[in-house]
Symmetry: C2
Subunit: 406 residues, 2 copies
């Protein structure tokens, strides 16, 4: 007998018929003799509709109240699934975030889980109930409703699985698992059977579409085996686990791309101590996340500094830097929205040299110019011209031997 | 400075624009220097939609889960109003049933309030916040969400007003107040300025359209002055108060009618001890509410017994009684759905004789046959043929001097 935590995303509970499908899956797990805790998202589109409604009220809805509003989405699906299971004669009960004691900090809209009591979950499981927990929501120590940010239900699921020491946390979604590249771009992309937490963490752009990246950090910290799979078929999906599992001897596990990038360059920045802080602290203060930073030293005590930001923040960042440039005496500021980032990711890199060479060579042979490079222990990323994104993904996928057999 | 509890019904918060209108009303009360607690219903139609959704899942949704589902309606409007007030720069916070410590029994779907803690409400008021409380919902001692039944937001409002010892509980709705008769039927109906709790309690059929009857019992018990008024204009509505307020010297305050009645007669019932129990306990056990009961003694140790039930329960009640009739040896069972009940209500009756005579005479002059009569201290009700309902209301309204001046 196992303890299984199953999380179903918005497309899996998009309407009553799909909730019925989820109920059947849950029931068949329960019939196997397993204990089941189900974590649910809101119906697909509902959270966006609620946000839209809040924006009809005011352009900047207060975050505490927005969380109260958004929490209704998961409350709805949880009640409906519990009802559905009961109508099928299964003992089931729904629990909201505060009832499951998902205690978070007070950061409304993007709260962090600090503790999960789970007394009621455990008591219900002991009596062989199916427990349905509303995902995405928790409560702060004062009893206010909080939400965990986009995709927060994944984090709810992994955190509850960690608390209960579940045997597996199954994340049900509308895709079959994690792929070696985006299958829409790369027809030869293969489903990955096993992937390490670290690789998954590095796949933000690709992986985040199937699994909230924060939840992976949680899974890694508490060593929760995560199974990403489809709720629309019976196929095994992708296991996200610790890397000491005898992984396939691949150097690179996946190729990812991210078009949501824009580049800003400050030219001829006086090369003085403290200048980088002056450039980046106003950016950070306005909540813009900087990804890559490259600094080239020039002659004459000057340097060129280039960094990337999300496309949505490009105009704001450029405006901020135009002001900064004047203050610090940089010669010019310019930017470029037509860029993309392609990355190769793999824990195998740790023990292999020549990965960078292979990557640069493959891009060069396809006449793709590399604008910026950044590396981590298990990832190499290149910024290229946006037009070349799909081509780059395909040539890298082939170059690292990831293409599926014809 | 007063403490004002304001409750806004579903039509008053039916969309964002109407919520904006509510926010303006609340703000103007606050600006007057009063403390304000607002109780909200769900948007008009939302509760019905949620029930509909539950019935797509199963014909008999489990009541605990149905309450979890239904509670989202008031959660939504409360968050939206709090946001709206904040966007208008008023300090406001929403509280759900459990956050406002509205403690109920465990009767899901029709819970009774047993206690209101209101610690958070009081703390928020102390800091001059506008407190927005989700109506209709509470929680049982185990922390499960409960709902208070149809129109339960009125009871939420009155109970919270009683707990806070509010100066007034304003019930905002889409009509101007309580009328001497249904204005759709009786063009000469007048708005009642003041009405006693007892009269209001006796006006279930007419009054319940503007105020949940249970809330009136609560108001009476705790002596909460209730002001029923429209959220769409600035007119004074109807005050529901204790009767020792120097009321107008009217004998009859209102004429009500109720078409939701059906009549069942058991003919030649053996007149033995215990027979009434045999007839009525299976009806009660199946949850059907019997209104009037009339028993006529016949010669020969037999009796005819007639009673009324809601039209929706007619078929079921008839079926039950057909079985009972055989068991107890009654000669026949028959029923009639084409009946209605008209009533005259007034605390003035206590000190006046001749009210019944006036009523029967007025109906007789209009050639309306009286099938059943029942009386209480402040009410006389007659069951008549349904077709005559409107006519009966009008002649009674005139007979008791209730018509407004032309």
């Amino acid at each position: 007998m196992s303890l299984v935590v199953q999380k179903y995303g918005g497309t899996s509970v998009a309407d009553i018929e799909r909730i019925r499908n989820v109920a059947k899956r849950v029931a068949s797990t329960y019939d196997r003799g397993d204990d089941v805790v189900v974590i649910l998202s809101a119906m697909a589109g509902v959270t966006d509709n609620l946000i839209q409604m809040a924006h009809e009220v005011t352009s900047s809805p207060e975050r505490r109240e927005l969380d109260v509003l958004l929490a209704t989405g998961e409350q709805t699906t949880s009640a409906l699934l519990a009802m559905m299971l009961q109508s099928m004669k299964y003992p089931a009960q729904s629990l909201l975030g505060y009832q499951a004691e998902v205690i978070t900090d007070c950061s409304f809209g993007n709260a962090r889980i600090v503790d999960i009591g789970a007394k009621r979950i455990k008591a219900l499981l002991k009596d062989r109930n199916i427990v349905v927990v509303a995902g995405f929501q928790g409560c702060d120590p004062n009893g206010n409703i909080t939400t965990l940010g986009r995709g927060g239900s994944d984090t709810s699921a992994v955190a509850i699985a960690a608390t209960l020491k579940a045997d597996v946390c199954e994340i049900y979604t509308d895709v079959d698992g994690v792929y070696t590249a985006d299958p829409n771009i790369c027809k030869k992309a293969r489903k990955i059977d096993k992937i390490s937490y670290d690789e998954m963490l590095n796949m933000a752009s690709l992986g985040a579409k199937v699994l909230q990246i924060r939840s992976v950090g949680f899974a890694k910290k508490y060593n929760v085996p995560v199974h990403v799979r489809s709720s629309f078929n019976e196929e095994e999906g992708t296991m996200v686990v610790n890397e000491n599992f005898g992984m396939e001897a691949l150097i690179v596990t996946a190729v990812t791309h991210d078009k949501d990038q824009a580049r800003i360059t400050l030219k001829k920045v006086p090369d003085q101590p403290g200048v980088a802080e002056k450039i980046f602290s106003p950016i950070a203060e306005s909540g813009i996340i900087v990804d890559m930073i490259i600094q080239n030293t020039r002659a004459g005590g000057q340097t060129d500094l280039t960094f990337t930001v999300p496309k949505a923040d490009f105009a704001k960042a450029l405006e901020i830097e135009a002001k900064i440039a004047k203050e610090i005496g940089a010669e010019d500021v310019f930017g470029d929205k037509n860029i993309a980032k392609v990355s190769v990711i793999g824990v195998g890199m740790k023990n292999h040299s020549g990965v960078a060479t292979t990557m640069f060579g493959a891009l060069a042979r396809a006449n793709i110019n590399i604008m910026m490079i950044s590396t981590s222990e298990i990832r190499i990323s290149c910024v290229i011209e946006e037009n070349y994104t799909e081509l780059a993904v395909r040539v890298l996928h082939t170059a690292f031997g990831l293409d599926k057999e014809e």
